[in-house]
Symmetry: C2
Subunit: 494 residues, 2 copies
Amino acid sequence: MFEIAELGYSVSKADYLEKVPDLRTQLLTIQQQLNRFNFSVIILISGVDGGGKGEVINLLNEWLDPRIMRTNAYDSPSDEELERPKFWRFWRTMPAKGTIGIYVGSWYSEPIAQRVHNDTEDTDLQRQLTQIKQLEQELADDGTLIIKCWLHLKKDQQKKRLKQLEKNPETSWQVTERDKKHLKMYDDFAKVAETVLKETSSAQNPWRIIDGSNIRYSSLTVGQHVLDKIKAHMQMHELQQSIPAPSQSPEIIHGNQLRILDSLDLSLELDKKEYTEQLNFYQGKLNKLARQAHQKKVSSVLVFEGWDAGGKGGAIRRLTRALDARNYQVIPIASPTDEEREQHYLWRFWRHMPRAGRITIYDRSWYGRVLVERVEGFATEQEWTRAYSEISNFEEALTNSGIVLLKFWLHIDPDEQLSRFKEREQISYKQHKITEEDYRNRDKWAEYSLAVNDMVAHTSSQTTPWVLVEANNKRYARIKVLKTYCAALEKALG
Amino acid sequence: MFEIAELGYSVSKADYLEKVPDLRTQLLTIQQQLNRFNFSVIILISGVDGGGKGEVINLLNEWLDPRIMRTNAYDSPSDEELERPKFWRFWRTMPAKGTIGIYVGSWYSEPIAQRVHNDTEDTDLQRQLTQIKQLEQELADDGTLIIKCWLHLKKDQQKKRLKQLEKNPETSWQVTERDKKHLKMYDDFAKVAETVLKETSSAQNPWRIIDGSNIRYSSLTVGQHVLDKIKAHMQMHELQQSIPAPSQSPEIIHGNQLRILDSLDLSLELDKKEYTEQLNFYQGKLNKLARQAHQKKVSSVLVFEGWDAGGKGGAIRRLTRALDARNYQVIPIASPTDEEREQHYLWRFWRHMPRAGRITIYDRSWYGRVLVERVEGFATEQEWTRAYSEISNFEEALTNSGIVLLKFWLHIDPDEQLSRFKEREQISYKQHKITEEDYRNRDKWAEYSLAVNDMVAHTSSQTTPWVLVEANNKRYARIKVLKTYCAALEKALG
């Protein structure tokens, strides 16, 4: 597939100088329009060593307006990055909507390098590529334009380029021992790269392979390609605005999952004595387990969802009481800030991923997408139906990185909810918890029930099961939460 | 000074249980009012080992609403933190306005520990305390309420407490080798702590020393103290709203500094040939120096300020062309995001501090406070006059950590500006740079001149001098910028 980039394209200096001003004007013009559009642009510049990645990136930095663009270089990850799931470092630097991120080294670098050096097998590579495709798909679904450029050189050209660079005292620094080693591995590299490029070229996110033998040619080509892609993406966006969204619903299987929640035995309860005993027992146990987990750098992510007044706060407090305040963080999910709004909806959850051995507790979570956002119409049907797989991929990324992930649904019935609302209104320091909105939401109990059932049906897997908590009795619920977390930690700690 | 906390205060269990609900109600009530107020709350919980810090913090976490509170634990810094100025880790986790941050371990931990272990001298400690006082003063000036609690134990009590903890298998983990070592150093510790507490207790940010021998007593006392302080702070805030700000201006010495800018020789220029030669020379030189700096982990922070159309962008591009795009970041400063608006005005600059060996280029900067915010009235006179010392302290923190800091003022005269505006209007890809506002700002040339002169007079020091760049001739200006940065790097690299 690299043949098309081996025809020795080049652009003369005169030609180049003639073409640059116009290209630059167009790039700047289109860039100024970007902030009117609700999408971000990711430009990946990859390719063989000596293919001129650095030069091309420097030129892009010169041609484009740095005010809406950032260059992100991903070399060796920091310890804060190493302590989190692999893609965290990319999420944390994701460009906001209306802006451009140039990625030097990206989610492709490590998989390619590992395979070339035989640190991984083909099956590992395939798995990594699947994750990459999922990531790119999710970003594209969110409107992100991903422009992927591969700068290619033939073997002899690479050799020549590296020699040239080395000979010149001004550029010799660019040639590292690693490059020379890579040169010897050219054939292996080309083979792996070909697989990767083929596998990850989709209609939506295709690779553009560019002859890197002439910097003027490759710079102009990348610049023109970026321009064309952004233009086309804008047109598509405008077109989509004018066409109503497809009215038919993507296939969501409701139905007998309804029984999932209905099958819960809400009469389960604990009396005060049992509760106190078990509370002491499990808090003591959790305390020990959490300390071990901290030492062994096993992180946890705990998600609390449930009906209003379902007892999330109380359950969280019984749990945190057993923990060292230095090691956990409770993240209440309210409406997003404007920085969060300018990103993919999962971004604001990625940003709170715990460091190694720590615990993040989400009081409400990414499931808002398929619950409140679905029921209240804040997300389109396309968006919330797509979210099931986005969430599954996200959670898989967490569990793959060794995070203990637990998702609790605190389930009560409408009568219990009503009596808790009334009760809260009596207790002064709980009054703030009850608003008009809480009563309004009760009218939508059936719609929320459907959404919850769909959620559980679509996002409960072997590795990321939902823990459905019978919560009409607070004592029972709290103990179940504690017990479940203890068991999960015990399992993770072996 | 610890005597007052050695009287053996204690609260019976019955008393405690009676008092908690009311305290909790009041804490929750006041907390709900917090988001109406434009200030943040920092609660520092420090003290002797075994003084019950963990218990108190856990209780605060239980009593307060986690939705507007975070507990930040500062144990060993991560590599990302080590690569930046010391206070960066505190700035990155600063609570937003209307929220509470509980600090476990804080800017006090390291200075105290270092002095106790004789890793530092008294003079080092004094220097550190000065920095702490400056930080707290700046936060307080911004409205932040800092509540500092010190949990004290007598020597024999500490011994007893550690023994108790150790004997109980449930709590023995809390007693580390470090604690036992600390016990032996009780007297040294108490002596250093006393100095620190005395030095850093101000009317605005006093320490509250609390007997830690009875957890019920200390928890109630901390809780009550937090409540009282927040209440008082709210009252003060409301009072200040109703009283007009003092009309007399803090003392700002204008005057003959005006000559600073006027003395610049704006006729300085370079012809095209000289320029091209020197550009090549200094870009080559900078390229080498920047690589060395990257290897030696010497970071740079470059600030570009100047008149509109003064040539900041062009100068930055000539500079970045010599750099590896992976190692620098251009941060354009526009209006703050809402997350930034909820913080001290320096926060948004702290967040972009470069990692070791990298370069952050600020295209406009924290000087906006004393320039545009002053002239346009976005900052009160109190705020912008205070900013001179805030900025000096901030920059000192950067240079103290080894960062190469350069501040460029690109100076042109009004005629040159006008002709550049006209020129920009002719060039299609530069048209977006010219707005009505640019012309309006010209009418305020005299006011801006005064502001610039004051800025230079107040914030130019031996270690953080302003580089005034004669920029009527773009070529001359660009070379001066390049040359200056080269010289600064050469000096830093020895």
